[in-house]
């Protein structure tokens, strides 16, 4: 901003009024001219109204009134514009001046207060010192006077006694009776001689010097000195952590001054708070010198609590440390497990790993449609998810991009890697941790192979969830009692079992051989293909003439229906009617070496 002063403002004002005057003059001149010739042109050189034959302007460029007026109007508005801008700048400067005025007033006021306070203190100290000394002096005086008085009394007594003796001696001396005189005189003479031989101590018992104590005004001097010296600052105040100001490796720390102290710089200290109480309790303290009242601390661990405090320093000294505040870095983003996510026409169940070794407060799931114009679709969020999975309602026939954040008191983490969900039909993968060890799954989790090789028993690791006899594996569905459809592609000679089973179906038995599973089974005999629809070990007797190569499985919880279809022909094969008491999961097994391929994300065909 240019440094204007009042003088330059006046100049601007003069310029403007000059122009006005000039115009007025011109107008005046114009009136005069009109008596002789009607002005119909404008000389751009002399910048006057004239008429088109004027001799004075023969070599000058003459403009017609219209264009001339236009041009001059433009020039005028340009100048006015410049002036308006200058006005704005002046106004800004004026308001800035006002602020400075107020601030300076405040600061001086503060200084005045400080000064008064200081001097009051000094005066107090002085008057105290005066009292003390006056008291001491008074005491001295009374002691001295007491002693003198004592001596005086002593003297008086001695004088009185001596005078009395002299009077008695004189009385005796006047005695005419010589015998009586000689009788009394000896004792009195003795006494007179005694008295007169005594050494009269005529010296003063005490010195007459004043005992002048040295005035110790050093503390007053110190106080006078410090009047012009700033006080050391008082302890700052740590601000509580601001929402969403932290990242997973940094914290934005803020604090404020307790009072109107002058501070040259701050020192910020921080230390990681460890959960493990058995460890060496104190982690290293880090520190940083900072000029502002805020600072970003980096290179921190995610999802961790840090203890922070700050001191303020000026030329006088360092303030006491502030109260310790606890800040938390946000967590690392979670990691979605795409193989564990399942979806249907109108819902999806998303599962993830926390991504943090320590627990977090909650998770937030965000999803948006990815089909069309990204700028048009809003992102929806599900907040306060307590565990590492979330069921979210979606619209059918759309593509979604879904991500998850972990949240703690520091704020939310970054978005996890997203997962694509399509609500065109039932989507799931084969669950590797339920697979019999002889099964291997493809990389995309949709094909299972039972290889024709004998794995030694030692290579087989079983767990509570893997199938141990039936070479089987489970899938998963959205936990809603709705309708689901999927297809399985098989070869003509594959001996398989496909269907559904309760999630706690016995891992030691064969699919369809118990009450907790229902399946279609294909057996190849030397003479023909045999099909069974097994539940609890029982099957109806059904002959099928065309071998299904693509089997459609339809599950309807509400209708209590599990039906099997030759999906290529849309031919219905069999329907189980059963009330499913719990959730069922798709199940697949191979009775002999072979392969099955799962097709998901398909809408149920219309015939179903």
């Amino acid at each position: 901003m240019e440094a204007y002063d009042a003088r330059s403002l006046c100049v601007i004002a003069e310029e403007l009024s000059e122009e006005d005057e000039a115009d007025d003059e011109e107008a005046f001149v114009m009136v005069q001219d009109s008596h002789t010739h009607t002005p119909d042109a404008f000389c751009s050189h002399c910048r006057v109204l004239t008429h088109s034959g004027a001799a004075a302007h023969t070599r000058h460029t003459l403009l017609a009134l219209g264009p001339a007026a236009q041009q001059i109007k433009e020039e005028l508005s340009h100048s006015s514009g410049k002036l308006s801008q200058k006005i704005v700048e002046m106004e800004n400067f004026a308001s800035n001046l006002e602020e400075i005025f107020i601030t300076v007033e405040e600061n001086f006021g503060r200084q005045e207060q400080n000064l008064e306070q200081h001097y009051n203190e000094v005066l107090q100290t002085l008057s105290q010192s005066h009292e003390t000394r006056a008291a001491a002096l008074g005491e001295q005086k009374s002691r001295a006077l007491e002693r003198l008085y004592g001596e005086l009394l002593c003297c008086g007594q001695t004088l009185d006694a001596s005078k009395q003796l002299i009077e008695r001696a004189q009385g005796v001396h006047r005695q005419r009776d010589q015998r009586a005189f000689l009788q009394a005189v000896m004792s009195i003479m003795k006494r007179v001689e005694q008295f007169s031989s005594k050494e009269v101590d005529l010296k003063l018992g005490m010195s007459l010097d004043f005992d002048v104590p040295t005035t110790d005004l050093s503390d007053v001097r110190q106080m006078m000195d410090s009047i012009n010296v700033l006080p050391a600052p008082s302890a700052p105040v740590m601000n509580p952590q601001i929402c969403n100001s932290a990242t997973d490796t940094s914290l934005h720390v803020c604090w404020s001054l307790f009072s109107d102290d002058t501070v040259e710089f701050y020192e910020l200290y921080w230390r990681l708070i460890s959960d493990d109480c058995t460890m060496e309790p104190l982690q290293d303290v880090s520190q940083l010198k900072v000029k502002e009242t805020h600072c970003t601390v980096s290179d921190l661990l995610p999802n961790a609590q840090y203890e922070l405090w700050v001191t303020a320093t000026n030329t006088t000294g360092i303030s006491p440390a502030s109260e310790r505040a606890v800040y938390m870095t946000v967590p690392s983003p979670p990691v979605i497990r795409p193989r564990q996510c399942v979806s249907s026409l109108d819902a999806a169940l998303i599962r993830w790993d926390s991504g943090n070794t320590n627990p977090v407060e909650s998770y937030t799931l965000e999803f948006r449609e990815s089909d069309t114009d990204c700028s048009n679709t809003a992102t929806e969020s599900v907040v306060a998810i307590p565990s590492c999975e979330c069921l979210v309602q979606l619209q059918p026939w759309k593509h979604y991009i879904i991500s998850v954040r972990a949240v703690n008191t520091g704020g939310p983490s970054d978005l996890s890697e997203p997962v694509d969900i399509s609500t065109a039909g039932t989507c799931f993968h084969l669950l590797e941790d339920t697979a019999h060890p002889s099964l291997s799954l493809s990389a995309d989790g949709l094909t299972m192979f039972y290889l024709d090789e004998d794995l030694p028993l030692s290579h087989m690791t079983f767990s509570d969830s893997t199938f141990a006899r039936c070479v089987a594996v489970l899938g998963d569905l959205v936990p809603i009692r709705g309708q689901y459809y999927w297809e399985i592609e098989v070869d003509e000679d594959t001996e398989y079992r496909v269907g559904v089973a309760y999630e706690d179906t016995q891992r030691n038995s064969y699919l369809g051989g118990n009450k907790t599973s229902w399946c279609m089974r294909h057996i190849v005999t030397p003479s023909r293909h045999k099909y069974e629809f097994l539940h609890n070990g029982w099957t109806p007797d059904v002959r099928i003439t065309v071998q299904p190569r693509l089997i459609g499985v339809f599950l309807d919880y509400g209708g209590g229906i599990l039906s099997f279809w030759n999906a290529a022909l849309r031919q219905h094969l069999h329907t189980f009617s059963c009330r499913f008491l719990h959730r069922v999961q798709p199940c697949f097994a191979l009775d002999n070496p072979g392969a099955l391929r799962l097709h998901t994300g398909l809408p149920a065909p219309p015939m179903i």
Binding site: D541, R543, I544, H572
Partner: protein
């Protein structure tokens, strides 16, 4: 062709009616039963033709099978004709229960004295549909056929001989291979004569072996305790083998404990109507 209503009863929100007419193919008065579902009051409906078995009339199916409920729900018209011409006074037609009256075998007879009247094949595949389409709110493009025992045989051969005409086909305990069983041999020799090549024109197993046309989807239910199964009248294995070879899709269900009676039909008629509805209502 004038239709006379013989009876009408409201049933499952629709109407079970019986009509009588003069048949041009059979040259006599014929009755048929027709069930009109509630939907028929406002729009055209597909038609399910039911062919009954030996000794039946148009009454057995409509009183014993319990089909009206499912027909009402799926909006399907069910037409159940009689099993043979009646009152033609042909000599010998009352002699047996498995030949002549009540045993038309759904063929067009070529032998005397049967050939004038015993033209059940044409009646079922041509005259009756024309009649139904012009007198009732029937969708002429949506027809399907089913039946029991002899009627099962009739349904299968009508579908196999008229590729594309019937949108769906199913059968209960059908006579699958008549030229190999006693019933068929008796009937065909009477109606068609001794030339066995003419018999093959009306044998479902033979027709399946040479079928070409739009893909079929055949549902067959067979009671396991059916006496006629065990007495080799029905021979479903032959049909299954032929269909397996020709890749004609069939689902054949052997139903434990069930016999040949209408109780068996009653038990599974809903499955069949649903099977037909899948194609008729598509």
């Amino acid at each position: 062709m004038a239709l006379t209503q013989v009876s009408s009863n409201k049933c499952s929100d629709g109407y079970q009616k019986v009509f009588e007419h003069d048949s041009s193919e059979l040259k006599c008065k014929m009755k048929f039963a027709i069930y009109l579902p509630p939907k028929a009051e406002s729009s055209k409906c597909p038609v399910f033709y039911w062919l009954s078995g030996l000794t039946c009339t148009e009454q057995n199916f409509i009183t014993k099978a319990g089909s009206q409920q499912a027909a009402s729900e799926h909006g399907i018209i069910i037409v159940a004709p009689d099993t043979s011409p009646r009152g033609c006074n042909i000599e010998g037609e009352e002699e047996s229960w498995d030949f002549g009256t009540g045993a038309g075998f759904y063929v067009n007879a070529t032998q005397e004295p049967w050939k004038t009247n015993y033209r059940m094949y044409s009646y079922v595949t041509e005259e009756l549909p024309r009649l139904i389409n012009s007198n009732f709110p029937a969708d002429p493009e949506k027809m399907s056929i089913s039946g029991h025992s002899m009627g099962g045989h009739g349904a299968l051969i009508c579908a196999l001989k008229n590729p594309g005409k019937y949108k769906a086909v199913s059968a209960f305990a059908p006579i699958c291979n008549p030229i190999q069983c006693a019933w068929g041999q008796k009937a065909f020799s009477g109606y068609l004569g001794s030339d066995k090549s003419t018999w093959e024109l009306y044998d479902a197993t033979v027709l399946a072996e040479s079928y070409s046309g739009p893909e079929l989807d055949i549902l067959i239910d067979q009671g396991r305790d059916d006496q006629f199964l065990s007495s080799s009248q029905l021979l479903p294995d032959n049909l299954i083998a032929a269909c397996s070879k020709k890749k004609i899709p069939v689902v054949f269900r052997l139903q434990q404990g069930y016999d040949h009676s209408y109780f068996f039909i009653f038990s599974f008629i809903n499955d069949h109507i649903k099977h037909h509805a899948k194609y008729l209502n598509a």
